[in-house]
């Protein structure tokens, strides 16, 4: 129970009220579900023949192929975005102004440009200047460009969260700034930012659904193709949504597990300050 600030241990009257609310809440949920089912039935979407195709392997094979492309795009753009984000974060923390300002400028500007606009730029603007990327990269490049800014902020926050004494101690024993960062600050920061990285990756995985726009055959676009082939529009998109949900929920769970494990590893003293 997270919010103990809100109520005490319930007494008899409160317990009665809780029971009433439980019943009402359940009824409301059931009513909502029933309404949805009725609407589906009224639209004739509940028929056996409209769901049966999704009990067959070829349909799933096609969608799982889409999921594989989604994963590929997500992994490649995550790797690029993290590498670039790390460079940006280090740049933003640099002592030299001519490194710090461009890095900060990039992060602040890209953070406020919609990913779809970047996709349109790659899709329609770059070919005019003779740069016509393959389909895969038309999706990956804008995602990497926009997520690099987000990863940069995560890395920077992680590096800044390490006690100053750590870096100072490194410098005091005669390591260079680069060595201090590589040997002392970065390994500690890496552990601390892991949960944020995983949850940002969930966001990135969600962003790959922009493949719908560039017609790269990831999960959502595969769903579109499949729906126009078999005419089972709502069923197909619901299945697609379900696949996204399962994958992302697992990743989010991983992020929470990592966070919980880290909380155990961090001494109390630090927690009190955070």
């Amino acid at each position: 129970m997270s919010s103990t600030a809100l109520f005490d241990e319930p007494g008899p009257r409160a317990r009665r009220r809780i029971r009433v609310a439980t019943v009402l809440g359940t009824l409301a949920a059931v009513a909502l579900a029933a309404l949805a089912v009725r609407q589906f039935a009224a639209g004739g979407q509940l028929g056996y023949e409209r769901w049966q195709p999704y009990a067959t392997w070829p349909m799933w094979r096609y969608l799982l192929g889409g999921l594989w492309s989604t994963a590929l795009a997500a992994v490649v753009s995550a790797a690029l975005a993290m590498a670039f984000g790390l460079v940006l974060a280090l740049g933003r923390l640099s002592e030299r102004r001519w490194v710090r300002l461009p890095a900060a400028g990039y992060v602040e500007v890209v953070r406020t440009i919609p990913a779809l606009l970047l996709v349109y730029v790659v899709l329609f603007a770059l070919p005019r200047y003779g740069l016509d990327l393959p389909l895969f990269w038309k999706l990956v490049v804008p995602l990497a460009v926009s997520n690099a800014a987000a990863f940069a902020e995560i890395f920077r926050a992680g590096i800044l969260s390490i006690e100053r004494g750590q870096g100072e101690a490194g410098l005091a024993v005669g390591l260079t700034r680069g060595q201090t960062m590589r040997l002392i600050v970065a390994p500690q920061a890496a552990r601390r930012v892991l949960p944020s990285i995983v949850s940002q990756s969930v966001g990135l995985l969600k962003d790959t659904s922009l493949g719908f726009v560039v017609s790269y055959a990831e999960l959502l676009y595969s769903g579109k193709v499949l729906a126009s082939f078999n005419g089972l529009l709502i069923q197909t998109y619901l299945i697609v949504a379900l696949i996204y949900l399962v994958v992302n929920l697992s990743l989010s769970k991983l992020a929470r597990t990592l966070e919980a494990r880290q909380r155990l590893a961090v001494p109390k003293r630090r927690l009190a300050r955070a």
Binding site: S2, S3, T4, A5, L6, F7, D8, P10, A14, I18, A21, T22, G25, T26, A29, Q39, F40, A42, G43, Q45, V109, R111, T112, I113, P114, A115, L116, L117, Y120, V121, F124, A125, L126, R128, V202, K206, D207, S209, L210, F212, V213, L220, K224, L233, I234, Y237, L238, V240, A241, Y244, L245, N248, L249, S252
Partner: protein, 214 residues
């Protein structure tokens, strides 16, 4: 540059649609998020479960999937609605999950004694929430809400992918006619950056005004 100026009316129309999307879905998301937060911090397990299910579901589904499902799927089960209204509702429902999560962390950041004091002077649950907990919680979440507002503004551009002519779609259309991508896309990008900058400015002011030093 002339490409941008010649098509100013279309781009302006797109900007107006984008601003409508932002304002309406933010209002909807704010109301929904308060309701969901109330569910998530209630003493009733079923309601808490419903709130958690809402947040988990919508945080883990891509917005574009929801938009596609609503725009192309809902007519199949006999729900016809205006395209713009559908997009507003979907974006509001999606973003509400994020706002609710921010609000909940705000509620949790309120000191335990505050709630105890509220109860000690005899306020009911909803009274203590309304008069004691939420005003304080809202103050601590000004900054996260500001960031989420910017994210919402960026996300409204996805409406372009399901056929709404917002700023992104307008820029794209003008580019298809004029084939002058640089001024047009830079112009559209600047407009989004300006919206985000305004949001940042307002949250900064609000925070300085509201924040309580503890």
């Amino acid at each position: 540059m002339s490409a941008l100026l010649d098509h100013l009316p279309e781009l302006w129309q797109g900007l107006v649609v984008t601003l409508q999307l932002i304002a309406a879905s933010f209002a909807g998301a704010a109301v929904l998020a308060v309701l969901v937060t109330a569910l998530r911090v209630s003493p009733v397990r079923v309601l808490r479960g419903l709130g958690t299910a809402y947040v988990e579901t919508f945080q883990n589904l891509p917005l574009l999937v929801l938009l596609v499902l609503a725009v192309f799927g809902l007519p199949e089960i006999g729900i016809q609605a205006d395209l713009l209204e559908t997009a507003i509702v979907v974006i509001a429902v999606y973003q509400a999950a994020y706002f609710a999560e921010a609000l909940r962390s705000g509620v949790n950041s309120v000191a335990k004694g505050q709630g105890e004091a509220a109860r000690a002077i005899g306020l009911t649950f909803s009274q203590s929430l309304r008069h004691v907990i939420l005003p304080q919680a809202l103050r601590t979440v000004v900054q996260p809400i500001g960031n989420l507002f910017i994210a919402l503004a960026m996300n409204t551009s996805l409406a372009a992918a399901v056929g709404i002519v917002d700023l992104t779609a307008a820029a794209n259309r003008v580019n298809l006619v004029e084939a002058q991508p640089i001024p047009i896309f830079v112009g559209a990008g600047l407009a989004y950056a300006l919206i985000a900058a305004c949001a940042g400015f307002v949250t900064g002011r609000l925070e300085r005004k509201l924040v309580i030093l503890r």
